[in-house]
Symmetry: C2
Subunit: 463 residues, 2 copies
């Protein structure tokens, strides 16, 4: 029986309950009884258990319980006489399951710990309130994201993790190999010894499932992939992970405008579901992390995102030229300082920037009629910046080949991607959502390293 069930009012008062959990806190009263707060991770609230000295092992064991000990409580659920909680349990038996030796050395004692410290004990941090909150919100967000997609007939397509191809034609990738012994030639380019490797070729960890996902979009119309994605970037920031989760959605017979609408619908739907379903967790965050969270997420759901052309973005930035390090010119990328200007000074809400110069974007994005820009879009949210990047894909073989050429990519490597254009090509579009970044935005926390249980970053593959 989970503690959540009690707070969800699914257990009747005055019934017997058995609660398995861990001690959050304990206070001994001089009157011969103790208050034990018990948690089991099913919800952020602890359950208050009252046990008195008539219980057999009270003096021998229960008086010595400390934070983190695991116990089984037999008792009666009653209305609490205190004002802090609605329910409590009058224990008639408590079995100690697991002790903590040297409780003063317990790495996550009941005192307050910094998030930085807790990252060093990632195997224990889920026992804290805040990391319980994060994993439950993460779970709820993922559930409703997939649920939206299922209900709207998108099929989950698990795109490969090990790949021969670099989706963007750039970016730092991890190599995958089975060559343990000295075999230096494997890592040289253009040597034949790759044949000794497991796949007989040079292989990498995927940076995006998009290209293979497109083959399914152009067959079953509506698809998504949701899996781990890898970037061997050595920048150690609050927004980068070497291993992160990305949800990529792709739909056939679809334009840039279609996915701009779809992306907004998905984000608003999931945020609303998180607000409704994780109310206790959100309340905890409101009290302890970000006292604007409910207002901020409600605004997110209710207001239409600002949508501007890249051209317009540049025009606005030019007016504030002296705010920025470099002079603003058409053709430049929208950098972090520009994003922050839009999000924190100018618009103060989520924005969508679309139709970027082709030179800034990948080969697969559809060339617009002006032949200077491509049908790309990015969605940016305050504090985190870009959380979604998407585009209409170039479905015309001639234009695609031209772009591959311009991007100095080898057309032969893309034979199967080109086949999709050769055989019954259709307009199609899609986008990728950076899961941990958006989760940061939802929770109001600042660092993606706290959004994934065991973060991988440069020089850190612990646990």
């Amino acid at each position: 029986m989970s503690i959540k069930k009690i707070f969800d009012e699914k257990i009747k008062v005055n019934t017997e309950v058995n609660i398995y959990g861990w001690v959050k806190n304990k206070r001994n009263s001089k009157m011969g009884f103790s208050f034990i707060d018990v948690y089991d991770g099913s919800c952020v609230k602890s359950l208050q258990v009252i046990v008195d000295s008539s219980v057999k092992n009270y003096f021998k064991e229960l008086l010595f319980l400390t934070t983190g000990c695991s116990i089984l409580v037999h008792g009666i659920l009653v209305y609490s006489k205190g004002t802090k909680q609605k329910y409590e349990v009058q224990a008639n038996k408590i079995k100690v399951i697991g002790w903590i030796k040297n409780s003063n050395k317990y790495p996550i004692s009941s005192k307050k710990h910094t998030l930085e410290y807790l990252r060093e004990v990632s195997h224990l941090r889920p026992r804290t309130n805040i990391f319980g909150v994060i994993i439950r919100i993460r779970n709820c967000f993922a559930h409703y994201l997939r649920n939206f997609l299922y209900l709207n007939d998108f099929a989950w397509v698990p795109t490969p993790i090990i790949t021969e191809l670099n989706a963007e034609g750039a970016g730092n990738m991890f190599y995958v190999s089975t060559l343990n012994s000295v075999n230096s030639s494997y890592y040289k380019k253009n040597v034949t010894d790759n044949t000794k490797n497991f796949f007989g070729k040079k292989t990498f960890l995927t940076v995006s499932g998009q290209l293979t996902l497109e083959t399914y979009a152009c067959a079953v119309s509506k698809v998504y992939t949701f899996g781990p994605t890898f970037r061997a970037e050595s920048s150690n920031t609050t927004r980068h992970l070497s291993e992160f989760w990305m949800c990529e959605i792709e739909q056939a017979f679809s334009s840039l405008e279609d996915i701009i609408l779809l992306a907004q619908n998905i984000l608003k739907y999931t945020v609303k579901k998180v607000l409704d379903s994780c109310f206790l967790d959100i309340e905890f965050l409101e009290k302890n992390i970000d006292n604007t969270i409910i207002k901020r997420l409600s605004n997110f759901i209710e207001n239409k995102f600002i949508e501007i052309e890249y051209d317009e973005a540049i025009r606005i930035l030019k007016k504030f030229n002296n705010h920025f390090k470099e002079p603003v010119i058409w053709g430049m990328d929208i950098s972090t300082e520009h994003e922050r200007f839009f999000l924190e000074i100018y618009f103060l809400q989520p924005i969508i920037i679309k139709n970027y110069p082709k030179e800034l974007k990948a080969f697969y994005m559809r060339l617009n009629k002006d032949e200077k820009t491509v049908a790309a879009m990015d969605i940016l949210v305050p504090k985190m910046g870009e959380i979604i990047g998407g585009s209409q894909r170039e479905e015309r073989l001639k234009q695609l080949d031209q772009r591959l050429l311009e991007c100095q990519l080898n057309i032969k490597d893309y034979w199967w991607y080109r086949d999709i254009r050769k055989y019954g090509t259709v307009p199609h579009s899609g986008f990728g959502l950076g899961f941990e970044r958006f989760l940061c935005y939802i929770t109001g926390l600042n660092n993606v390293k706290d959004m994934i249980p065991f973060p991988r970053t440069v020089n850190n593959s612990n646990f």
Copy 2:
């Protein structure tokens, strides 16, 4: 508007419809009209479209449509006069979106292709009926698997893909590295040059998320991980992939018997949901692949699995000693030929074998009172063999350390895993479900390579 909506009776007859899709087949009648079967991947059925020569581009374009061309059909939904289908569309306009040049060279023309051939064109095989069926069943199965877990308060914990640890203390793993240039020393053991690698250490692709998952089970009680898993095994069989998906479930305050029950409940729930939700796809499989599928899956849902001790399994096998290559003795592993004997000759239904000799199993499984066996269980199904492996975990530090020693593993590497036993340890148990294997069982197909869009096996990382 998807074709599925029409067959789901969500569109009224005599209304105007716009259908985007691809030509499955086309027949021209001498009477001046054509039948075009159109599919869009939303369901296994094609929609019959009738178009006559009064339509403007009939002679110039529509007569030349071939399998795989993409089109937009404007027309009226009507009851079909034919007996093969309930509905059809009378087209008044058809726009050709994408042609197929040299249609006689289209790799997946309307003739029948073998599954082996289709693997070579994995980027186009989702356009066939059978691979549409597979991806939709896979999607439905995954959806209800996650749904069961969500509704039962299991939280999704994305365990890391890149890891320093080999979960089983054995097995062939892939290395992950950023060292592109000649750096032979990296791949030698015990050299300091690993510091030049991205993580400053030797890192691998995960073979199981279980150990890290346990840290969350011992904090929030009920958790699962569902992600790609890697084995660098060079055996090229119908049951092995180098990259496959595994759902691992872990629960605190839980015994071997608890997860045996949980595993059966999950399997039966998901199979029932697939039978109900994917009825058209199952019907297709019944007609084309396995005419026992409905009966087989119904039996799977209704009958309790046979549950036997390892001891008993050995006793039974001994009676049939001369069936097998090697003499049957207590302590030997249950091999494929024994599995097949149980599944195809002796029991003829799913079985659970439990309490194996400790020497056969991993260090983390809980030692039974006999001190010879561990609280492990495997679930086997006809044709595929093992689909689930699970155990109660050793929660007692002393016994765990003893097993680490016996398995010649380095205790220091497991410092964080041991912490979980040091601090408020609890009995807990869990299991892993091989997703593609079980999907094989559900669909009645024989090869896991057809259960994942782009299979990775030795010497194959195509697409």
